[in-house]
Symmetry: C2
Subunit: 240 residues, 2 copies
């Protein structure tokens, strides 16, 4: 009994919103988005779940606070750079922040309404396009083209962390070559000669995510640059 009281008083900094958010981010960094329950966060603070409700209105508000903390880690735009460099570097900074907090993209997606911090970030990204000579209209389309990439993440349709060892995965896809010939070709190409270095399961985390992210990013930025200096602001195939 005495021990329990000691444990509690040991952590008796008075449980502020700030401390709750810090703890929640730490819990998520360690255990992923699934570990984010009010009871779990409270436990980490040596407190009961209902105690949190004096400092945050509800779980959604807590999640918003966590999102804002991550967005706050993104570097401000480079001063004096051209729009493309400014956009590219800031998106890569956002990506670094998101990679430090792997739960964040999922939490951002789960929230219906953007926080004021995210709205502000978006507005500042729009400003980079406008300063770069984009019309308001083309800036609008550009924001849709970029989508979540503007926040540094993209939808990965296959799980990034395949539990299977690379060589097993390669063998598996080879066996399925008649059913999925193109995936098999892809796995074959990438694994190439040296199966030893873990690039095996192309479809399950074997690819170089950073390269693919930048490849797609540059394709989009190059496409937008072309439209920016083109007579007609729509790509050829567009039907409206």
């Amino acid at each position: 009994m005495a021990t329990k009281i000691d444990e509690r008083s040991r952590t008796r900094e008075p449980l502020s919103r700030e401390r709750i958010l810090r703890t929640a981010v730490a819990v998520a960094d360690k255990g992923g988005a699934e570990s984010l329950s009010m009871r779990r966060i409270a436990q980490e603070l040596g407190v009961v779940a209902m105690a949190l409700y004096k400092h945050v209105a509800n779980k959604d508000e807590l999640l918003d606070g966590m999102i804002d903390a991550v967005i706050g880690e993104i570097d401000p735009p480079i001063e004096g750079a051209d729009w493309k460099t400014a956009m590219r570097e800031r998106i890569l900074s956002a990506r670094r922040a998101l990679l430090r907090h792997p739960w964040a993209s999922q939490v951002i997606e789960s929230r219906a309404e953007p926080t004021p911090t995210i709205i502000g970030y978006m507005d500042s990204m729009m400003g980079i396009f406008i300063s770069g000579g984009f019309s308001v209209d083309l800036m609008h389309h550009a924001m849709h083209v970029m989508g979540s990439r503007i926040l540094g993440f993209s939808q990965e349709l296959f799980d990034e962390t395949s539990s299977m060892p690379a060589d097993e995965a390669i063998a598996m896809w080879a066996q399925l070559a008649d059913r999925y010939p193109n995936i098999a070709a892809l796995v074959g190409e990438i694994s190439g000669g040296d199966i030893s270095h873990d690039e095996g399961s192309v479809v399950g985390g074997g690819c170089d995510d950073q390269f693919e992210f930048e490849f797609a990013l540059d394709l989009m930025l190059d496409g937008l640059e072309r439209l920016r200096s083109a007579p007609t602001p729509q790509p050829a195939g567009s039907t409206g």
Copy 2:
């Protein structure tokens, strides 16, 4: 009591996997992804939740079955078309399927492992690139560029269904013009002269989603076409 028995026997087609999936899709179409609980689906079938477990292993398997049902609605690729047309039309077909089942994109994202049906769909999309003359490498990058668009959806960072009336939204953003000048400019541009037709809250569902989807799609397809016939397979800014 007699009434209750009557109600039950009325729906006594013997509760197959097929019937469960059909009902689950109907429940989700009506109530969204949040309404997809085992208890809720069972209730719709006049049965108790635990009865479902004789026909599906668990909820994840049920979700996979629902996903496959939606993927099954996507048209096969057009025969004899060039790769760009084939890709474009099939993605737009996928989009129509996803729009018929608005819960599907969220459910697909929530699942870590792709179903065999999705893997097959991906392989067939890869085949369109390969047949169109893409190298295996460029096809790989192309798949990453397209991302979830290949399944007909894209990450919308703002909620598409804003509860606010268009004119209220316009007034709101006008008032926030000093804090978010670029968003304000955007809303101002789009609302233009006629506020009456509901294009108001650009940042909350006021934009033409179909146009933006096709705009981004075409920008990507055009960019890929350029790389396909270029000497070096990487966009200019790429650092690897």
